[in-house]
């Protein structure tokens, strides 16, 4: 079971109160998590990554286990604590503005 934490506005959009729990079969990667998330919550399509290119939106970041994983390939395996559900995979709205 994978735990995913969404930013406030996306929790509101998807009507999610807390963490999302996702079951994955196969390699646990950013891409697999986002595929599963968007399948369960189709209103999130296009809000985290581009519909077509699947590129991360510029002001979205991915964190887990205290590491910024935003620049990792979507196919990179995530750390074991995420795979085991000990640590959540965090989708964050980047701090920007002024």
């Amino acid at each position: 079971m994978i735990r995913v934490v969404l930013p406030y506005h996306l929790r509101t959009l998807a009507q999610i109160k807390n963490e999302v729990e996702i079951q994955l079969e196969g390699p646990v990667t950013q891409g697999a998590i986002l595929d599963a998330l968007e399948s369960t919550y189709p209103m999130l399509r296009g809000t985290i990554r581009d519909h077509v290119t699947k590129q991360r939106r510029p002001f979205i970041r991915f964190f887990a286990c205290g590491e910024d994983l935003s620049l990792e390939s979507s196919n990179t395996l995530l750390p074991d604590p995420v795979v085991m559900g000990v640590e959540p995979f965090r989708i964050v709205g980047a701090m920007s503005g002024g």
């Binding site: 506005h9 996306l10 509101t12 296009g46 809000t47 519909h51 002001f59």
Partner: protein, 371 residues
Amino acid sequence: MSKVRVLVGTHKGAFILTSDANRKQWNVSGPHFAGWDIYHMNGSPANPNRLYASQSTGWFGQVIQRSDDGGQTWTPVGNKFAYEGDPGTHLWYDGTQHPWEFKRVWRLEPSLTDPDTVYAGVEDAALFRSTDGGQTWNELPGLREAKGHLWQPGAGGMCLHTIIQDPSDAQRIFVAISAAGAFRTDDGGKTWRPINQGLISPQELPGESPEVGHCVHNLAMHPSRPGVLFMQKHWDVMRSDNAGDSWHEVSGNLPSDFGFPIAVHAHEPNTIYVVPIKSDSEHFPPDGKLRVYRSRTGGDEWEALTNGLPQSDCYVNILRSALAVDSLDSCGIYFGTTGGQVYASADSGDSWMPIASNLPAVFSVEVQTLP
């Protein structure tokens, strides 16, 4: 008794203001989609409880929301706006060609007859249509073939902000694009042509007036007279009596002919409204006085409407989609400001009152007159 529902899109959410036909007591609902930019919210003429809202932020992109109960509850629908085929390029600020990139939806215009059909005007400028209540969107690519490679964004972005359907001819639609101009289709959106003859923009477009590139801020039309169009251009208020084939200036005695919105009275096709702004360098009313100007002669002769509006120290702006009218017997006029006020007049503009005073900056105002 009839009711009025005012749909207000702001920098931090949507608000819905309702009143009975007296338009004295107002109920404010919201914020809906708190914290998001709501560029536009609009209702279906065929089913007034069907509303569409354009919700976006720089972080999370574009969302389209739909309501089937007049805005009490909302459902996110489709937000995939993919240009048709290879979208090619348009002119960039530095004169080079630049790829078309979808940024956001500026305007949602439901069909006059079908609640499930709705048009979306987007940035980078293009027109999309949904025929399934907003679930899926398809571009009408013929518009960008109207010299799209020569369109160049202005300071506010290259947005398609105005969509007007001709109630007498389902095949005819007018659109306007910031810094590109006005365009018309006569075949339901397959082909388009620029309708900018007579527009003169010497400061932005020196030399011989080009076919595209004019900074049209807003268009308005009265449904009983679809061949007559009014335009607030970057500078100049313009009028066309032949569906945009040619334009002539009707700025007349306005204190400034710069501005953003323009609207037509619901029952008097020759009565029009603008809100003069000092200049493109100073986006606030001349002399710090918030004045709506009304012409009862279809332009040229204008009178200031000031009763109830601040006449000193007022430095707000009124954006292009933030002026609208209701269709009650005594026509109501409404506008929102970047200072978060929404003003209403129940007597065609003779007197005004704030119906909301401390909202986030207002992007858009639409009005529904309900039975």
